[in-house]
Point group: C2
């Protein structure tokens, strides 16, 4: 779904936009962006930090945070709503939808043409300016279903903020 050319191209575009905005295109920033681009999960800051550290061992967690928010402000990545305390980031710019596990909080992207064609109702204008629509399906993911049958008498306690 993602190929290296796409990724290099988007990194080049980031460098271009940063320079244009008078923001320095440091190695840390580019590697943080690359990590989110390459990630198939929806990584939180800690996870991004773990991965980037392998390439840039001296990077600090707070630089990762600062960079992620910078990328978000520049609309290169977005944040995902979660039921957990950790903020999760996403560089998937294709139209997609979410399957959300109410047990473990996993968010799995899925694609669906019918949902892609849904239009934003006019009534929304009363609330604000809309720019994106996505369908969210809540349920329990396969992994959690497996755990629940294993545990049998399960003390139901989900992940919390």
């Amino acid at each position: 779904m993602k190929n290296d050319n796409d990724i290099e191209q988007r990194i080049q575009y980031l460098i271009h936009c940063l320079r244009e905005a008078g923001i320095k295109a440091t190695n840390q920033r580019l590697e943080v962006f690359r990590t989110v681009l390459e990630s198939e999960e929806h990584p939180d800051a800690e996870r991004v930090y773990q991965i980037v550290s392998q390439r840039v061992p001296t990077i600090s967690l707070d630089t990762v945070y600062r960079t992620l928010w910078l990328l978000k402000d520049l609309d290169f990545i977005s944040t995902i709503e979660t039921t957990q305390s950790k903020t999760r980031f996403d560089a998937n710019i294709d139209t997609h939808h979410h399957f959300v596990c109410s047990e473990c909080g996993a968010i799995i992207d899925f694609y669906n043409d019918k949902f892609d064609k849904l239009e934003i109702p006019i009534e929304i204008e009363e609330l604000g300016t809309a720019n994106r629509l996505l369908v969210e399906i809540k349920g329990i993911c396969n992994k959690c279903l497996a755990n629940m049958t294993n545990d049998q008498i399960k003390t139901k306690k989900g992940e919390r903020k």
Copy 2:
């Protein structure tokens, strides 16, 4: 949209379910549930605490937390995905959809018959068991739009986790 009978009825049902499960129906628990039921916003724990305190002045914030999670485990309320650090709670059991402000994180319920009729695609079975579908529209709410034009040269910085 909500009337007092509905609320009393749901509280009675809670008492019934608690007793059945061998959990004590304490005043604190009932008042926390009443507060979420009566709330038109999607209150966070702190907000629930503020309101409940007026009726039960000795209640503590951690009891509010414990009760909210208990009610969630019993499926009397649900938690809402947010981009902010605070967990927000919801007792709205009607089928509804969300308008989410990407600036301030506000979540506004809206109703739409067409969206209500959307069906869960079969492909979802590969991911897990689905039980609810909702449409999420992302945009910028009127309040934030107003602020943005006021501030003019705005140092774009949203609410963060």
